[in-house]
Amino acid sequence: MTVPLDKTGPEDTPPSGPPAETIKAVPVRHYGRWLAAVIVLGLLALLVNAFAGADVHYPAIPDFFFDGTILEGLGKTVLISVLAMLIGLVLGVVLAVMRLSKNPVTSSVAWLYVWFFRGTPVYVQLLIWFNLALIFPYINLGFYRDEMTDFMTPFMAALLGLGLNEAAYMSEIVRAGIQSVDEGQTEASHALGMTHGKTLRRIVLPQAMRVIVPPTGNEFLNMLKTSSLAASAAQYGELLLATQNIGRASGAVVEMLFLAVIWYLVLTSVFSVGQYYLERRYARGSLRSLPPTPWQRIKTNLAGFSNRGGV
């Protein structure tokens, strides 16, 4: 026998309590916010006014924006930043592993390296590399022998100066990343018969990346900017030196500095977007669902619009 189920339920008592309509209340007025906004806008207007009235020949900026020399300098800025960062990354991993090793010699040497390069201004380091020929007229590596002035070009000085300095910072970042990985991961890997090296490469480093990538992106943005020190310290023809040269020749000194500022902002903005995707890649497995990419977010927003239109 089947009992008929009453699916509608009793209809006698309406739910008690306040009616379920949207509350319309007079919001609190935030007069302080209005005041603050007016003050800030006022100050901003003063700033804009000052620059508008300054003796700046603004058309010079677009005129030279895509100048060959500028673009070449831009390319060199990116090149030196990427290469120095690569040196920093590889050497940084090596130093971090040395620092964490049980061997007291390697770990102290790594400590000493970080202590030295982190403790001295990178500008001074660049000057020393560039002027190395003053104390070592020849370079002799056994398989390679040359006059130091031929070897230590502005490019080499900038590369070594920036790269070796970066390695010190990167090693600390990598070390923090490696130490952030749970020890149970190493144990599980060892228990499966994986050696120390394999465990580091396959299990520990990929997980450390999640901790390593964000500060590394930061370091790279810093590198893009710090590379400008190579202009005066090592006479390397990157973006700043290119703009300065044009500025000196054309008399538009500050205009060209503004141009450099804009290009630096473009560079750092582009690479921040790249960093976002990289972080997303290494978030695999740590989040239940990955955050949407900016492009995916735009698409869902658009879909939301069309839905609303359809209803």
Binding site: H190, A191, L192, M194, T195
Partner: protein, 253 residues
């Protein structure tokens, strides 16, 4: 027949803490060997000594007739190299209390990792076995999930499949159900029971007395770094001879 695991007077200290104070025991092949006792009694430490995750300070420990962690020539002991220790561990599977799955890999990749990296197995072979093993632990539909997307019980079953992928001759379980919600314990114990029925040699550190009674062939009660009592589970669990065993069992049963 050689014992699968043989322990002779094993001692282990962490600094001033003397955790194992002379452990003597033998585990026969195909045996399900349960280690029980209060926390801090040294049972997990002893388990970790068997695959040399911990170095013992005194005594001798043998797995399948081979000394663990050392090579003996005459009277002298030589420490094994990292690669030699790793090679010995291939034959010993281990399952941890906290699962320790690799979070950056899917369930399938977790199970494929060791055969491919350690045994240099071809991808297709490793993949086929991994799929079969995950299917066997009831997770055939979860191969593509990351550990964070699985429940505790599912994660632990993946961990068992991961250990089995190396085709070990001995499985170590370190409180495999202690980190699980009560309703998820059963699914993991079922997998372990199946494994026992197939004749796998298992050493299980556990608080699941029901499992020990039903599946275990021997049981050892440890307290304060020594073996207090050992025997057949039904015997020890129903008629404990020692006071310490009695008082412990009265609290957990």
């Amino acid at each position: 027949m050689t014992a699968m695991v043989k322990s002779e007077g094993v001692h282990k200290s962490f600094g001033a803490a003397h955790v194992l104070k002379g452990i003597d025991l033998e585990v026969a092949p195909r045996e399900v060997f349960c280690l029980v006792g209060p926390s801090g009694s040294g049972k997990s430490t002893f388990l970790r000594c068997i695959n040399h995750l911990e170095k013992i300070n005194a005594g001798r420990l043998y797995v399948d007739g081979d000394l663990v962690g050392y090579r003996q020539r005459g009277d002298k002991l030589y420490e094994l190299k990292d690669s030699e220790v790793a090679a010995k561990r291939r034959d010993i599977g281990m399952v941890f209390q906290r699962f320790n799955l690799f979070p950056h890999m899917t369930a399938l990749e977790n199970v494929m990792e060791a055969p491919m990296q350690v045994k240099r197995e071809a991808r297709a072979v490793a993949r086929a076995r991994a799929e079969r093993l995950l299917d066997r632990v009831g997770l055939g539909d979860k191969v593509g999930n990351y550990p964070a997307q699985l429940s505790g019980g599912q994660q632990q079953r993946v961990a068992i499949a991961r250990a089995l992928a190396m085709e070990p001759k001995l499985m170590l379980f370190d409180e495999p159900t202690s980190a699980l919600d009560p309703e998820l314990v059963g699914e993991v114990l079922d997998v372990m029971r199946g494994l026992a029925e197939e004749g796998m040699t298992m050493i299980v550190v556990t608080h699941e007395m029901g499992f020990a009674r039903e599946v275990g062939d021997s049981i050892v009660f440890m307290d304060d770094g020594v073996v207090v009592e050992s025997g057949h589970p039904r015997e020890v669990l129903t008629n404990p001879r020692h006071e310490r065993t009695k008082s412990f069992l009265s609290k957990v049963l």
